[in-house]
């Protein structure tokens, strides 16, 4: 039969030579290989003390930013929820009342804003869709493992950037 590729190889079973039957050359070779690994640099990252370095464009946990006066930037326009391919973002919009100018930058704001971290695929499309530069994926925080499903639904309490003056953590 015509071979389909020129990589066909005739397999033959030869008797072992004396050196092969004596095991010792093969053992010496094996010992050489393990000794080479003995002196190799280890890849281990000592996790709690060290963390693996992340890329500067790493997409981690979301944050809802405030402007320079400390007012929330989000206007609940819903573009992020539309852009989200995993449909992880939900929000309800509300109207700013008089006297809340320090809290919300524009007349409309998000009363609730939830990201379901079990659905989120951390693609960063919400970040790109946001016209107000309000939502970002941080490069230094991860959504940690938790025991209950509903703990993965992050509300505004965990998403909004803390105020600089009240920052305690």
């Amino acid at each position: 039969m015509e071979p389909l590729s020129n990589r066909r190889k005739q397999v033959e079973k030869k008797d072992m030579t004396l050196a092969e039957r004596a095991y010792l050359p093969a053992i010496a070779q094996g010992l050489g290989i393990t000794l080479k690994h003995f002196f190799k640099k280890k890849a281990t990252v000592q996790y709690p003390e060290q963390t693996r370095e992340r890329s500067s464009i790493w997409r981690g946990l979301h944050v809802l930013k405030r402007d320079e006066n400390g007012a929330e930037r989000c206007t609940a326009c819903g573009l992020c929820a539309v852009a989200c391919p995993a449909e992880a973002i939900t929000m309800t919009a509300g109207e700013r009342k008089a006297g809340e100018e320090q809290l919300y930058r524009e007349e409309k704001y998000a009363v609730t804003y939830e990201v379901n971290m079990l659905r989120c695929i951390f693609c960063g499309l919400c970040e790109e869709a946001c016209p107000k530069a309000a939502i970002f994926l941080q490069d230094d925080k991860l959504a940690p493992a938790r025991f209950e499903r509903d703990e993965f639904i992050y509300g505004k309490d965990r998403l909004v950037e803390p105020l600089k003056t009240t920052e305690t953590r």
């Binding site: 094996g30 010992l31 393990t34 690994h37 003995f38 280890k42 890849a43």
Partner: protein, 355 residues
């Protein structure tokens, strides 16, 4: 014997006993470290600096586990098994000369616990008793798998003891003595037996691996696939004793190999060094003591290298199949050892004839 001599001996025996236990303890640590390094890992490094307290943590864990004796087991023998294994392992280091002679207050102190003129036989006798530890442990468990494991272990140890003894006879033919001190003394300087007995050493090394149940031949244990062998029913510190005895056996086997083939406490240029020291310090006693202590250092370096080799091989080679093990022992090593005896005898006769 004077009481001062007795005191020196007692101190020496205690020190050697302590060193044996210490080395066995830290062998477990270095085993794990070496395994990790060979597998590109880091190994235990949480308990104490660089994980140095890991053996203590392991021992603590073993002590606090339930000390379990199976209901239908023979209770006395079940306890006796690990005891014998441990006792026999620690006994065999008694005749090994870890160093030459120290001069203290005009007294000659040999760095050897007991000097017997049948030292080699003593070691062989005591090491073969170790099989009883395994056999009793396996039998007393009243478990057919333990018993099968024990039989497996016993037949392996007995098979390889023959080749080991035969490979040793060539050394005894050369030195003409069974005393380990005498054998060590004859290898003064760089005149080591390994230069005359490479084949004998190779056979002895392979048999030592089999005798200590180390990896290419660790069928008695084969912890992953043959449910532990003779110590299947053991737990807590009794299991710890068995494992500990294995590490002591490695230490003893390493010291025996260093003594018989690698010149024990002798090192190259020791006489030149001693002559130079006599000139430099103007005292024969100081020069002798310095060289002796250096010799002890060299002895332990050789032992550590052998222990490292044991572990290095363990993490390199897979296990032999049982029929391969028996074939290697009976059909290859024993004929090779007999050939080695013939070659040695011929060599000795040739030397007498020529010179």
């Amino acid at each position: 014997m004077e009481s001062v001599d007795l005191l020196y001996k007692a101190i020496y025996i205690l020190v050697i006993f302590g060193i044996t236990l210490l080395i066995a303890t830290y062998s477990t640590y270095f085993e794990r470290k070496i395994a990790a390094f060979i597998q590109d890992r880091v190994g235990p490094n949480r308990a104490g600096p660089a994980g140095l307290l890991q053996p203590l943590a392991d021992a603590g864990k073993l002590f606090f586990k339930e000390d379990f004796i199976p209901a239908r087991a023979n209770k006395a023998l079940f306890i006796l098994g690990p005891g014998i294994a441990m006792l026999v392992a620690t006994m065999s280091s008694a005749v090994i000369p870890y160093g030459d002679m120290l001069l203290v207050d005009g007294r000659e102190i040999y760095l050897q616990a007991i000097e017997v003129n049948i030292g080699v036989l003593y070691i062989f006798g005591v090491v073969s008793l170790g099989v009883y530890g395994l056999m009793i442990g396996g039998w007393a468990s009243n478990n057919k798998f333990s018993l099968l494991g024990a039989i497996r272990a016993a037949s392996q140890n007995i098979s390889y003891e023959i080749a080991m003894g035969l490979s040793l006879i060539a050394v005894l033919m050369m030195t003409g003595s069974l005393s380990l001190r005498e054998i060590a003394a004859q290898q003064a300087g760089f005149n080591w037996n390994i230069w005359y007995q490479p084949l004998g050493f190779l056979i002895f090394l392979v048999c030592a691996f089999a005798e200590t149940n180390r990896t290419p031949f660790d069928l008695p244990e084969s912890e992953a696939e043959l449910i532990g062998g003779y110590h299947t029913e053991y737990g807590s510190m009794k299991l710890g004793m068995y494992l500990f005895a294995e590490y002591i056996n490695i230490f003893v086997a390493s010291s025996v190999m260093a003594t018989l083939y690698f010149g024990a406490y002798n090192f190259p240029f020791m006489f030149e060094l001693e002559a130079w020291l006599v000139d430099a310090t103007d005292s024969v006693v100081t020069a002798n003591n310095i060289v002796t202590l250096l010799g002890v250092g060299f002895m332990f370096v050789k032992i550590f290298l052998f222990i490292f080799f044991f572990m290095w091989v363990r993490w390199t080679l897979p296990r032999f199949r049982y029929d391969q093990l028996m074939k290697l022992g009976w059909k290859i090593l024993i004929p090779l050892a007999i050939l080695n005896i013939l070659l040695t005898g011929g060599g000795i006769l040739l030397k007498d004839y020529l010179f």
